[in-house]
């Protein structure tokens, strides 16, 4: 199975020069995105087939490190992520068939787009440290090029800079991790690494390094600094790929190293992952609630979901460390399912944001509003995405969240007290972030799509093109399907958990009425299908009955608003005013949020002003000082550029004398 996959990758890579050759014509857009759509679909099918029971297949090409070659392999894990990556890729390509036409400088996007998808696939397929890292860093490189596609804006360049530096930091961490695993004589092939059983301290170090490496790419707090800058800066279909897919590739890296290559770590390391995962989830969504730029909101909510996934992974680690394989499988399934779900609805939401951006030219929610009237279909799918990401039944977001909670509820069986106490706390954090996520997306959807238009641009918005809508509807449909028949997806994940945890959840599709049962019917179960049907039936019944038996008449009138009808849209709640209560409750604590209101003296006609100041604690305490240090050091050292020749000679002289002294003393 791996060989055709590689052909697909070759095709994608070949697409880049073709795109360059075709130049900035509309032709180029169609060819590039059309071809990527086809290839990604093919790759997705390959992934699916190998997930559903194709044997593991591997191949070695005489590329890369000469004495090593480039190893590629498809096993259950990589097959699953192959599906995720290419599903996202296909959706993005379909979307871009329409959206990409509006690109002002396609020459800066088209060549890198297929290469970027190819790179992500390569990461998933590669089976030795070198190819893995090449693909990993190549992924960063291509996405960097896409982030600065609109290079005229200084902000984007800055975003690209921060992004590439952070990405390289992550790569460095992974490099060191593999350096430890491979040893001095360099057995970089994964089989060799798997065979070697490293010492406990080494396992710990590698785990931390892998967490830094993968976490920095996935956007784990506090390594997330680049993400809200870079993801919104790229064209929307690329933002969707970065948020929906690339972060998942990062998670793949973590799983591959920690669960597959590394031996079982001591249990306390899982606490690190758990704690950081929980904090990431809560922080991410709080950040999201403080933003007014809709793409930024989405980027921060990605951080939240990554946090949820890592919390589940930490749980799986804990169970695995204590040899409880079935719960480990449950936690792992929850994580992987959330990976899949998030890739669906996050891409969907970014597509929606892109459609809005194109229709209005605005990313600031305070300048949007009332779009549901002008772009009803986009509004509908965006709503679906919002419900899904807010973990509300009957859509898919809830299922993975529910599984995570089920896994958390198994924590009492853990023997170590640290975990016994930590897991419920993490559970509280997850619950908090779930509730806040709902708030965040009520805000995101409500402010931008509902109410009345807050700007002329929003008033003149128009529905987006067919391709984009098709892509969005496909994803929305998938969100619903994954929500109502989750059993199918859970069963598909069984081989993965078998490979990684040596166990898997009980077979789901056999259960009556297609409900899902993590451990036992008596313990817990959930049936998305029935919930959906019941809601539909009862809602429909109510509607039918009322319209039949009672009145179905309807009059339009100005809004009542407690008797203060206000003609101006400015009197509506804005994004920032909507966030105000939450900012009061959490912001003062986390972001040192301050509100300065200045009232004009009685009689003066000056408007009253309210200024809100929100600080990013992590940026202030981590990133700013680092940048400061580099600036300081380079300033200090830069003096050496401005010495006289005599001084330079003195340097040489000093070096010589020093070495001679060393020699004299050493001998």
């Amino acid at each position: 199975m791996v060989v055709p996959a590689l052909y697909g990758l070759a095709a994608l890579l070949a697409l880049a020069p073709i795109a360059i050759a075709l130049g900035a014509t509309r032709h180029a857009t169609n060819v590039t995105y059309g071809a990527s759509l086809i290839v990604t679909l093919g790759l997705g099918v390959i992934g699916l087939m190998s997930l559903l029971g194709e044997p593991v297949s591997a191949v070695t090409l005489p590329l890369g490190l000469p004495w090593l070659g480039a190893h590629f392999r498809i096993d259950a894990l990589s097959a699953f992520f192959l599906v995720v990556v290419n599903l996202g890729g296909a959706a993005a390509s379909l979307y871009a068939l329409g959206y990409g036409r509006h690109e002002e400088a396609p020459g800066r996007v088209l060549p890198f787009y297929p290469a970027y998808i190819a790179a992500m696939n390569l990461v998933v397929l590669s089976n030795d440290a070198f190819s893995f890292l090449v693909a990993w860093e190549f992924m960063s490189l291509t996405s960097w090029a896409l982030v600065i596609a609109n290079h005229k804006e200084r902000e984007n360049l800055r975003a690209g800079f921060v992004y590439l530096v952070m990405a390289s930091l992550g790569t460095l961490a992974l490099l060191l991790a593999f350096g430890l695993l491979a040893g001095a004589n360099g057995n970089y092939v994964f089989e060799a690494i798997r065979a070697s059983h490293p010492a406990a301290w080494l396992v710990a170090v590698v785990l931390i390094l892998a967490f830094i490496g993968a976490g920095s790419k996935a956007g784990v707090v506090p390594l997330h600094g680049w993400l809200p800058l870079a993801h919104p800066a790229a064209p929307s279909h690329v933002s969707a790929l970065m948020s929906g897919v690339m972060t998942k590739v990062a998670i793949y890296g973590f799983i591959r190293i920690v669960f597959d290559l590394l031996g079982p770590p001591d249990w306390w390391w899982s606490m690190v992952v758990l704690a950081i995962g929980g904090v990431t989830a809560a922080m991410g969504v709080l950040y999201a609630l403080m933003q007014n730029d809709i793409k930024r909101v989405l980027a921060y909510s990605t951080i939240e979901n990554i946090g949820i996934v890592f919390a589940a992974l930490g749980l799986a680690l804990a169970f695995k460390a204590e040899g409880m394989m079935v719960p480990a499988a449950l936690a792992l399934t929850a994580a992987l399912l959330h990976v899949f779900n998030h890739s669906l609805f996050k891409s969907l939401l970014f597509f929606g944001a892109g459609a809005v951006l194109h229709a209005t030219g605005e990313r600031d929610m305070d300048k949007l509003g009332g779009l549901i009237h002008r772009m009803p279909q986009t509004a509908f799918v965006f709503l679906a995405g919002s419900v899904a990401i807010s973990a509300l039944p009957p859509l898919n977001g809830f299922v993975s969240e529910w599984l995570t909670f089920q896994a958390i509820l198994l924590s009492p069986h853990l023997s170590s007290w640290g975990l016994k106490f930590m897991v419920p706390a993490v559970g509280a954090l997850l619950a908090l972030s779930a509730a806040l996520a709902a708030a965040c997306f009520v805000r995101a959807f409500g402010i931008s799509f509902l109410g009345r238009a807050r700007s002329p641009a929003a008033n003149k918005a128009h529905e987006t093109d067919g391709f984009s809508r098709a892509a969005m509807f496909v994803l929305a449909a998938l969100c619903l399907i994954a929500g109502v028949v989750p059993g199918v997806f859970i069963d598909a994940l069984a081989p993965v958990t078998h490979a990684l945890a040596g166990a898997s959840m009980p077979h789901q599709t056999g259960v009556q009425w297609l409900s899902i049962v993590p451990i036992a019917q008596s313990r817990s179960s959930y049936n998305g299908l029935l919930v959906f049907v019941f809601m539909a039936v009862s809602g429909g019944l109510a509607a039918f009955a009322i319209h039949r038996l009672a009145s179905d008449r309807l009059r339009r009138a100005p809004a009542w608003d407690c008797g203060f009808p206000d003609p101006s849209p400015a009197t509506q709640y804005t994004a920032s005013s909507f966030a105000q209560p939450i900012r009061r409750v959490y912001g003062t604590l986390v972001f040192r949020a301050r509100e300065h209101g200045e009232m004009p003296p009685p009689g003066s006609l000056a408007p009253a002003r309210l200024t809100v100041e929100v600080r990013d604690p992590i940026w202030d305490t981590l990133y700013a000082p680092l940048a400061g240090f580099v600036a300081f050091a380079s300033d200090r050292l830069n003096i050496l550029q401005f010495l006289t020749i005599r001084r330079y000679l003195s340097l040489v002289f000093a070096a010589l004398v020093l070495l001679l002294l060393v020699l004299a003393i050493w001998q």
């Binding site: 016994k420 806040l436 313990r523």
Partner: protein, 318 residues
């Protein structure tokens, strides 16, 4: 044959909650009135209101979208499904495993989600106030509820309401600190979720203090009827939740006889009466608090929930 009977029970429960909920609200109102030395509206007043509203025209704001008209049905449906999945007089109903406690809470979450959207849809200032405050309160109430659920689930080793109720009935559950804390917490959450005093005042239209009412301000006619009915269902749901988790006595499980059923229904009604009486007393005794005191109130609930969970380990009962 058995299947049919099971379906019948499920249907019966759905109808029961639907029909009982306005009466419950009416009863609470009556109680409060009496406690305040007022005559108060008749018990059946809520039914009359609903019917009246259903027959009236809907007056829809110009800026309202299709979503605004769909939402009442969604909210009603979600709440009704949730309410009909909570054991009232009989546990282990045929579809009880459709959604466990987590899912029920989440269903209420969806209802709230859409209601908040409705608040924003017309684009008025009051809708905004309501929605933003609602989500703020919910952001604390939901985790608190989940923490309570954790405690109970860890005690009962299940999130299946029927199983939990059965466990609570069984002898092995002793008197526990955690359960006490959980009870207090769940009451606090129930008060907040149902927009009761001191968190919110269902009767008020004093603009700056209202939360739930502000969200539904623009609704009228059948839409308003559905929203109100959903609210009443929610109250019933929480009361019967408390009833089935903390006072499960009289609940019939698998095997039953007619008299057992009668007893069960009677017990259920009795519980409701008792709880709603307590609620009325509580509401009369206490004053509504400022909106930004609410977070502290809910935070306390959350802390209680977390504490309850952690205490479980200390008490070493696992």
């Amino acid at each position: 044959m058995a299947i049919v009977r099971e379906f019948a029970f499920q249907g019966a429960q759905m109808l029961l909650v639907l029909l009982l909920s306005p009466l419950l609200t009416g009863f609470v109102r009556k109680m409060k009135a009496r406690l305040q030395r007022r005559q108060g509206p008749p018990l059946l007043q809520p039914y009359r209101d609903l019917l009246r509203l259903l027959r009236k025209d809907v007056v829809l704001a110009e800026s309202a979208s299709w979503l605004f008209r769909v939402i009442p049905y969604v909210v009603f449906a979600a709440t009704w499904v949730a309410a009909s999945l909570v054991p009232t007089f009989r546990s282990g109903l045929y579809f009880s495993w459709t959604a466990d406690l987590i899912a029920i809470i989440a269903l209420l979450g969806s209802a709230r989600f859409f209601q908040a959207l409705a608040g924003l849809d017309v684009g008025t200032s009051f809708g905004g106030i309501g929605a933003s405050r609602e989500v703020m309160i919910a952001s604390l109430a939901e985790p608190a509820m989940l923490m309570i659920m954790f405690t109970l689930a860890l005690v009962a080793g299940s999130t299946q309401l029927s199983t939990m109720a059965a466990y609570m009935l069984s002898s092995e559950v002793g008197l526990r600190v955690s359960l006490g804390l959980a009870l207090i917490a769940i009451i606090m959450v129930a008060i907040a979720e149902n927009a009761r005093i001191p968190v919110d005042n269902p009767a008020t239209h004093l603009e700056l203090t209202m939360v739930h009412e502000a969200m539904v301000l623009e609704y009228s006619g059948r839409h308003l009827a559905l929203i109100d009915l959903a609210a009443e269902l929610k109250l019933l749901l929480y009361l019967s939740l408390i009833a089935c988790l903390f006072l499960p006595w009289g609940l019939v499980t698998a095997e039953y006889g007619p008299q057992a059923l009668a007893v069960a229904v009677g017990a259920y009604v009795a519980k409701l009466v008792g709880l709603s009486f307590l609620l009325a007393v509580f509401e009369t005794a206490i004053a509504k608090m400022r909106v930004f005191r609410v977070p502290e109130f809910m935070g306390a609930a959350l802390m209680l929930g977390l504490l309850a969970t952690l205490l479980l380990f200390v008490s070493g009962s696992l």
